[in-house]
Structure formats: C-alpha cells, structure tokens
Subunit: 256 residues, 2 copies
DNA sequence: CGAAGCTTTGATGATGCTCAATCGGTGTGG
DNA sequence: CCACACCGATTGAGCATCATCAAAGCTTCG
C-alpha cells in the first residue's frame, strides 16, 4: 500500500517492519542503512543532541541505558528484534545510550541528511509518531512497575512478559531464554542482582518457574503467574493508532 | 461536575501554544475545542481505546493517573499549564485517566472526525510527534527517578524542579506553591504520604527548604539542592526536534 | 587446571511502609 | 461566636523489604 523504497538487495529489512527503511530512497545515497554487529556491552551513543538516528534491532537484546553520576545504572527500556529505537531521547539530565545485552545485530539509519524533506512527509512523521507512541506506552507501563510493584511482583511481571512472548499460539508453554544477566535484570527492574537472584530462587522453589539451566526456563502455568500480579499481563498492545482511518487499523507489533 | 463550553473565537489559545489548536478549522464545525472546568479529583477518562482526543492544560495542575487492581495508585506524569496530553495512552494493562489535582481549566480537542485528513498532514503528524516525544523524554526521566533514586533524592528532585520553574530569570529564589497534596506527591514519586511528610520535615529542619505554610515554600539555595542530586537538575529540555531544519529550531516549552 | 565472571546464599543493617495517635486548619450548624 | 466534625499533615513505634557486604559455588574459556 505504501510506496516503499526497497533497501539494497543484500539488506532485507525484516527488522523495522518497513517502519523506517521504506523512507530510504534507493536512488539517492545520502542515507545508507548500516548493519552493525554488537558484542555484549557494546554501546551506540548519540542519543543526545540533535540527531535523527534510528536503530532497529535485528537480532539480540539491547537496552536503552543510563547512569547517574555515582554510577547507579538504570535500564530505561529493552529492545529486541523488530523494535525500533529513536536516538532523539535527548534529555540533558543524564547520558543515554543503546547497549547490547548479548551479541546483537542492529540496523542504523540516520535521516539527518534528508531532514528538511522528511519533515514535510506525513507518512514519515507518522512513522516517527508511531515509534514514539509505542515507546511511550511501554515506558509508562514500566514506570508503574517501578513506582508501585514490590520486588517479587516486578520479577514475576518480567518473567511473565517473556513467557508470553515465547508462548505458542495456543498458549502452550515453551522454553524461554533469559537474554540478559541478573544484574541487567536488576538494573531494568530497579533492584539489585542479589535480590533478583533470591526471587528467582523463590519462584523456582514455589514451582511457578522451572529452570532448565541458568538462562532458560519454562512457566508451566501462566495463569498462576497472572494471579500474582495486580495488573493485566499482556503480550503487546495494539501498537498504534487505529485512529487514522486509512486502512491500517489495528496493526500489531509481533507477528508469530 | 464539569462545565464544558465550546471554545469561542474570543478565547485565544494560549494553552497549547498553537501546537494543537492551529489544526482546528474555524470554518468547519466538525471539531470544536471544549473548555472544561475541573474540581480537585475530577477525571477525564477516555485514555483507553481508539480516540484522538487531546487535552491541553490552561490552568491548574493535572495528573495522568492509574490504579492497580488492589488500589495502589501511580501518577505517571504531571501536566500543568501549556502541557498537552494525548488521550492515546491506551495500554490494556491498567486504566489511565487525567485527574485534576487542584481546580483546573482544560481545553479538549477531539480530532477523530478529521482523522483521515489529518493523517496526511505532515505538520499535524509532526505536532503529535512533538507531544509524544516531549512526553517520552519526561517519562523516561521520571522512570529513572523511580528506579534509582532513594526517597530523599526523589523529593529533592521534585522540589528542585518546582523551584526551578518558578525561579526568576536571574535565578533569584521565589516562593513556590505546591500544587498537590502529600499523597499526590507520594503517588507521583512512588512513596507514601507519611514518608513524603517526614522528608519534607527533614529538609525544612536542614534549611534546604523554607516553608511559608503547608503548601508554599522557598528554596534559598538551589545549588545546595543540586549538590544533593546524582543528576543534572534542569528546568525544561529543548522541547523537540531541532532536527527538522524548516526554520523552527530549538523551540522551548515554557517562556517566562 | 586455573582464572575470571556470574550466580547463589547468608548475615546484617538501613530504608521506607503500616498502623495509630495527634495536630492543625476549614467549614458547618447551633 | 463557639463547638464540632472532617480532612489532611505530622509524628512515633514497630516491622517488612530490600540493599550491602562477604563468601562460596558454577560455568566458561583459555
């Protein structure tokens, strides 16, 4: 439906679901998507200042990350395959960056050279709004988690969301891989690594979660997890904006 | 409970800084901004489901609010004069609404009737993106606060931000009015009311904050507050997107 | 095998919540 | 005008939660 300018043939853009790369004009070389390989701990900076860089995750799990002056670290958001992250998260308060939590592949697109043109492109601006909105909903949800859930609830919610993403269509439980270390989980959930470890042990002993090894687990009964949470446990929200009646209603993010 | 009246031509839209109301076509009556008066505790729902409603606060302080099943309340964001809130914060997890923390005046615009047209309007989509981005930056900042600051730091940051907003151009301290109750502050900061009260007492006794009465205070030395924080204390970020070089570079939100 | 890096587990303490009592304004009715 | 009720704010006591520090166990990789 949308006229999408194809990427170079060797770069099939499964990553951003055409949200971004369709605005790359194959004829003009001023904007060239970059495929970037990241090892654990690698960072992509430039989330401050004026830049129109975007990253979409192709493989692996990344974190939008920040630190305070004294070294306290907070993971503001997680981004896995098919998630798009905007580099515009500039806030002067503290530095932000995108960090790989495991080996990752990321596609970077910098629209800066064509900013003036794209500003007049309704489809582009809408795509940006889509991304922002999506991120805003997730960040708001996470904020509630940090503000009002206790440590056990936070971990259960986290485990549950992962399990829900990996579950089969019919809800059959499937093994889930924890894509990050205990400390990363802690920094995401506003806890510390020991607390996370203790809670995981507790959940394992209670039978809510079965660990195959340190980084793989199965949730045998997702509803049992749900009953421990004071909120809905949902996979992903109807991403955006069925409001604009141009035929794209009720898009969803992840497709099985 | 709330008296709402159509916005007349004689009411200049100082509220949304032309961000939204400039897309209202005076000739066509399909979109009519409403001026709404709210008393403390009044709510504007419809932050779930598909709707293109926006509110911009004209007077007073409002909160984007949510509750968990067991009644725990979290204020996700505060919105005062000149702030715009989108009703699209739909997430299926928990209900959201806009709540007046004191007597308020809000301007409501529902763009739904013209959604199809506006979806093709780059300026409109960009205005939405502006609002989303602004909100996202603030929400991310607040998320860090809830994730990694202890209770005293949270209160100091909150007090400091209020003081900074009210300070004169040259930084001279001015009296600040606390626009909300202790419990509201607590629900914003992920604490409880008693803890907030205790911390405010502690800050008063330490001389960092001088209270004129229960809801008015002065910060005699803002830098002393800053030294207690592990992050920058900044008034407002360059709101958005100097990236798009069409002449509107470096807009700022509040103007003195 | 050994070293390094996670992870787990334990002991201990600080932080912040809960419950309860009191205080201080504000509004209402006698 | 005063007595009273009501609501929010304050203060205290006690306790649950979670962080810190330390030691030991597991994995991985050279």
């Amino acid at each position: 439906m949308d006229t999408s300018a194809p990427l170079k043939d060797d770069l099939p853009c499964i990553a951003c679901q055409q949200r971004l790369c369709r605005f790359v004009d194959g004829q003009k070389p001023d904007i060239t998507p970059l495929r970037i390989e990241l090892q654990r701990g690698d960072r992509l900076e430039c989330m401050t200042g004026n830049c129109l860089k975007f990253w979409s995750v192709v493989r692996g799990t990344t974190a939008v990350c920040t630190v305070l002056k004294d070294g306290r670290r907070q993971i503001v958001a997680l981004a896995g395959p098919r998630d798009a992250i905007c580099g515009m998260l500039a806030d002067g308060h503290s530095p932000h960056w995108l960090e790989a939590l495991e080996p990752c592949e990321v596609c970077e697109i910098d629209f800066t050279p064509r900013a003036a043109i794209l500003a007049k492109d309704a489809r582009f601006m809408r795509a940006l709004m889509d991304i922002m909105h999506d991120q805003l909903v997730r960040t708001s949800q996470h904020l509630i988690t940090l503000g009002r859930l206790d440590s056990t609830e936070r971990v259960i919610l986290f485990i549950g969301q992962l399990a829900l993403c990996s579950a089969a269509e019919d809800g059959t439980p499937r093994p889930v891989t924890l894509p990050m270390s205990r400390e990363d989980i802690a920094d995401y959930l506003g806890l510390n690594a020991e607390t996370v470890s203790r809670i995981l042990t507790k959940l394992r002993k209670s039978g809510l979660v079965k660990f195959l090894n340190r980084s793989e687990f199965v949730v045998p009964d997702l509803d049992a997890l749900r009953r421990r949470l004071p909120m809905q446990l949902m996979n992903d929200q109807a991403s955006v904006i069925g409001q604009f009646a141009d035929g794209r209603t009720g898009e969803r993010r992840a497709q099985a």
